[in-house]
């Protein structure tokens, strides 16, 4: 009896995994052939001279768009499944009563896997504070969550390679940990709006339901539909602009403005990056093309981090629960951290 049950369960899992496995094989087949196809199309089908700028631009575009979209679909699917294991409520429970330093580390790491959108920043902030998660730990979470997201990581990996993606993730996490720690040490609780500490909510009666593996796979598909459905157009536009830069902008064009010998390039790119609210999807392909034209890695990293991690709309949303001195401290510390990363990589590379 027991045996047949186990068998049935096993059969169920194989059945559930069959479709994803087939899709993965199909995915691999396309992924490994895009470059060939892009070349074939440019040179043999529309018969462009291989050495023209236009052929170069077109080939770049035809190769990068499907490559990045494929990577995105795969990673968003996997992250969608991972995220089904983490809910904000669970994260809060883990962070409750954690001491400052260890709490900052855990909050930053959890920030990368907990489902988060900037419109939920307020309820999340309030939920954390209310259940006794320290202010600094809450901030570590709020800094890491938008800065290290699957879209940014996929694009960095696809367009810059795994080293840059890894550097971005590691330094982003460090910024979140350290900034949150500093905010915690500064004891800025008095700059949180007074009503925040007064609200008493009835704890949610939403019980954690046992989620089946099938539902988790389903949430992977849903994530792909929702996220890729929303950003594919930005990726195509971003890569189109990037391809134009790639083909037509002269070498070393950016060296003067965003090169490493220009000391003000890092603070300038942060200054431009913070109010510039763009999703990672549109900005990263363009930045990649600039890097190719002589911009330095540190400057480029600083620019991307400030665009993705520090956004004006989110800061304005936070104004509802934070007083101005705390907002300025938060933005100031994170911006300083980003600049430090920028200078560091300009020196190393």
């Amino acid at each position: 009896m027991q045996n047949t049950l186990v068998k049935a369960e096993k059969k169920g899992i194989i059945h559930i995994l069959f479709l994803p496995a087939m899709l993965l094989a199909f995915w691999l087949f396309i992924y490994l052939n895009i470059e060939k196809w892009a070349n074939y199309f440019t040179i043999s089908v529309i018969k462009l001279n291989e050495n023209t700028r236009f052929a170069d631009t077109l080939r770049f575009f035809l190769f990068e768009v499907p490559k990045v979209l494929l990577l995105l679909v795969l990673i968003v699917f996997i992250v969608g499944i991972i995220r089904s294991y983490f809910s904000p409520e669970k994260t809060r429970k883990i962070l409750e009563g954690k001491p400052l330093f260890a709490g900052n580390i855990m909050a930053s790491l959890l920030g990368t896997v907990t489902p988060f959108c900037s419109c939920s920043a307020i309820p999340l902030f309030l939920g954390f504070i209310e259940s006794g998660v320290p202010l600094g730990v809450t901030f570590s979470f709020l800094i890491a969550a938008p800065m290290i997201n699957e879209i940014a990581v996929v694009l960095l990996f696809g367009l810059f390679g795994w080293k840059t993606a890894l550097i971005y993730m590691t330094t982003g996490l460090l910024i979140a940990m350290i900034s949150g720690f500093i905010i915690g040490k500064l004891r800025l609780e008095k700059y949180v709006e007074d009503w925040v500490y007064k609200i008493k909510s009835s704890p949610t009666e939403l019980q954690e339901q046992e989620i089946s593996f099938k539902t988790r796979i389903q949430s992977g598909y849903n994530a792909v539909k929702e996220i890729v459905g929303k950003i594919w157009i930005y990726i195509i536009i971003g890569i189109a602009v990037g391809a134009g830069v790639h083909g037509y902008v002269p070498e070393n064009f950016m060296a003067g403005m965003m090169g490493k010998s220009t000391w003000w390039s890092v603070p300038l790119s942060v200054l431009i990056g913070v109010p510039l609210y763009s999703n990672a999807a549109g900005i990263i392909p363009i930045v990649q093309a600039l890097l190719e034209k002589g911009a330095s890695l540190g400057t480029v990293l600083a620019f991307m981090m400030s665009v993705i991690g520090l956004s004006l709309p989110e800061t304005i949303i936070l104004k509802k629960v934070l007083k101005l001195p705390l907002i300025f401290t938060f933005v100031g510390i994170v911006a300083a951290g980003i600049m430090l990363v920028g200078y560091l990589f300009n020196i190393i590379y």
């Binding site: 419109c119 009835s202 939403l206």
Partner: protein, 78 residues
């Protein structure tokens, strides 16, 4: 039945509200549907992600847009 959609006005909150209205109408559910946008009011329900769905003062879900079947199930239960 009193249904409340909790959300400060993000895109997903709006799509949840219209979905709830649609499904309720299609099912012929006699419900009063209300949109709660005040953050302090929302926080009384203790949710940590928007949108939230409250039926007869009970939180049904938060941070997700449930599918039609789940909605119908919840309507039936109440």
């Amino acid at each position: 039945m009193i249904i409340k959609v909790l959300g400060t006005g993000c895109a997903r909150c709006k799509s949840l509200e219209s979905k709830v209205r649609e499904v309720a109408e299609a099912q012929g559910v006699d419900a009063e549907i209300e949109k709660v946008t005040d953050i302090q009011e929302i926080m009384k329900y203790g949710i940590m992600a928007t949108p939230g769905l409250v039926i007869n003062e009970k939180v049904k879900c938060s941070g997700i847009i449930p599918n039609d079947d789940e909605l119908i199930q919840w309507f039936k239960e109440c």
